[in-house]
Amino acid sequence: MPGAGNDPGKDRLPGNQATIWGTLGLAVVVIVGLSAVRLEHQPETTRDYPPRPLIADGPAVMKPAPEIDDEYLPCRDCHTSPDRQTGPIPRELEYEHEDTELAHGNLWCLHCHDPERPGRLRLADSSLVKFEDSWQLCTQCHAKKLPEWRAGVHGKQTGHWRGPKEYQTCVECHEPHAPPFGTIEPKPRPKRPDEIIQPARISGEEQHGDS
């Protein structure tokens, strides 16, 4: 590495270059002085901020459930015929919904869907709720998740930690028929040290090398 002491061009400086170097030297001296002042000076440990009151908290609203785009909607198109097959005992679906892979504990469709109106979810007390209120169904069986979800700890809130926030409903992350979150594609990894191109050498060094 070229050191300042063995500058090969030193003795051969033409006049105008000497002036340039002299000026630069002076500039360095000035900067040295100023920076020494900066170094010697100790700022306060923190800034003396004027008081700023805590901003108001806002309402927590639920993000609308993701829209369902399903060839089967509306459900009542088919589920009105009186002679269709139904029943509480799990069976292989052959005629329709054969793609609905149910892998949720050992639940059967009618643990959640109403047999008469499958477009509605049936809670334990037999009351029916719409798909968009499915969290009420989920948290009946997964009761421990309810307080955590409300607190923003299970699942996720977005928006403001202080101010209006939105939290996501269960089916945003869990497909009700096969609820594990599953795997996702990762974003690119960081560069390894050996892949980082050395920053371009700076002009000063090149000058030394050239002369």
């Binding site: 070229p2 050191g3 300042a4 360095v28 900067i31 040295v32 920076s35 020494a36 170094l39 010697e40 000076h41 100790q42 700022p43 306060e44 923190t46 800034r47 003396d48 901020y49 004027p50 700023r52 009151p53 805590l54 901003i55 955590e148 607190a151 923003g152 700890v153 299970h154 699942g155 996720k156 809130q157 977005t158 928006g159 403001h160 930690w161 202080r162 101010g163 996501q168 992350c173 979150f181 795997t183 996702i184 594609e185 990762p186 974003k187 690119p188 990894r189 960081p190 560069k191 390894r192 980082i196 920053p199 371009a200 050498r201 700076i202 002009s203 000063g204 060094e205 090149e206 030394h208």
Partner: protein, 323 residues
């Protein structure tokens, strides 16, 4: 200007004195051996568009309200012009009664690195050369019982899908220590802890000596070896003076809990993007906050607790007994 910078780098190898009185000695050394070197750093740091005004800038903590106001306006103008968009630089201060805390649920994190990239975009980190404030480390599950040693973590994992079988992930950025070793060793007072617990850097005062990087036990600080580069169209125009304003070559940077967002009540960018909801953020002084819920109901731990740096970044297992 090139050689001094290299000499300065060599100097940085010498360990700083741990005691508070070292500053004076440091100055002496600076004045004799490496005066030109160390002192030229701010000039070198700013690369070829050396900005006199920022060199003469007082330390952020000592600016009067009027000076701060003028600074913010000047920077807003400067960057609006530079990037051709409406940049708004703020110096918004901490709120009373707020101490920030972060929680990360290791049982949920899938290692998808969405937080890493959201952070880069939000905080104007250099794209090339690449600077990333968050590193996601991959560990073997089978090793976890023996305790986590950060140096066993692999940040370079590549899989088609994550989480990979038998692995778990720990994202790491600045831990915002209460007893922050980084700020103690800074010879110029360019880094400190704010009243709301955010450890910040005054980029105009950073001389790039990198003592703080050596002092940080979490490897959370990053150095701009070359001129950072963010395409104008990717610049996030919502900036904070001691946050995501554009940096220059030769300065250190790190996570600020997205100070430009959080001081306005918003969640940090990494929190917003996390697809599994593994990230929790809020006011440790508010018993109703989600972070306090975590502290109360979950078993939390901090990294390298034995160093007693008192991080404000907590890790926890949201689910026990389920793999």
């Amino acid at each position: 200007m090139g050689t001094p910078r290299n000499r300065r780098v060599k100097q940085a190898g010498e360990a700083p004195e741990p005691s508070g009185s070292s500053r004076r000695d440091f100055i002496k050394t600076a004045a004799t051996v490496g005066a030109g070197a160390i002192v030229a750093a701010p000039a070198v740091a700013s690369g070829f568009d050396f900005d006199l005004e920022s060199f003469f800038q007082k330390n952020f903590r000592e600016l009067s309200e009027e000076e701060l106001d003028a600074l913010v306006k000047r920077l807003s103008r400067k960057y609006s012009k530079k990037y051709g968009k409406d940049v708004s630089v703020s110096a918004i201060g901490p709120m009373d009664g707020v101490l920030y805390g972060y929680g990360l649920d290791i049982s949920r994190c899938t290692g998808c690195r969405r937080c890493v990239h959201a952070c880069v975009e939000e905080n104007n980190q250099s794209r090339d050369p690449e600077i990333q404030w968050i590193r996601v480390l991959e560990f073997e599950r089978s090793e976890a019982l023996r305790g986590i040693d950060l140096k066993d973590g692999n940040p370079y994992y590549e899989h088609k899908e994550v989480p990979d079988e038998g692995k778990f992930y720990i994202p790491i950025a600045c831990q915002h220590c209460e007893d922050s070793p980084c700020s103690k060793v800074c010879p110029t007072g360019a880094t400190w802890r704010e009243p709301d617990g955010i450890v910040v850097i005054d980029y105009d005062w950073c001389i790039g000596c990198r003592y703080c990087m050596a002092a940080c036990p979490y490897g959370a600080r990053h150095f701009n070896w070359a001129e950072p580069n963010v395409p104008a169209e990717d610049i996030n125009p919502d900036m904070h003076v001691i946050g995501n304003v554009p940096r220059k070559r030769g300065v250190v940077e790190k996570c600020t809990f997205c100070i430009q967002r959080t001081r306005k009540g918003r969640y940090p960018a990494c929190h917003e993007i996390c697809p599994v909801g593994a990230r929790k953020f809020g006011n440790l002084l508010d018993p109703e906050s989600e972070i306090r819920y975590v502290m109360k109901h979950k078993r939390t731990f901090v990294l390298k607790a034995e160093l007693e740096t008192k991080p404000k970044f907590f890790y926890f297992w949201g689910t026990e007994g389920r793999s």
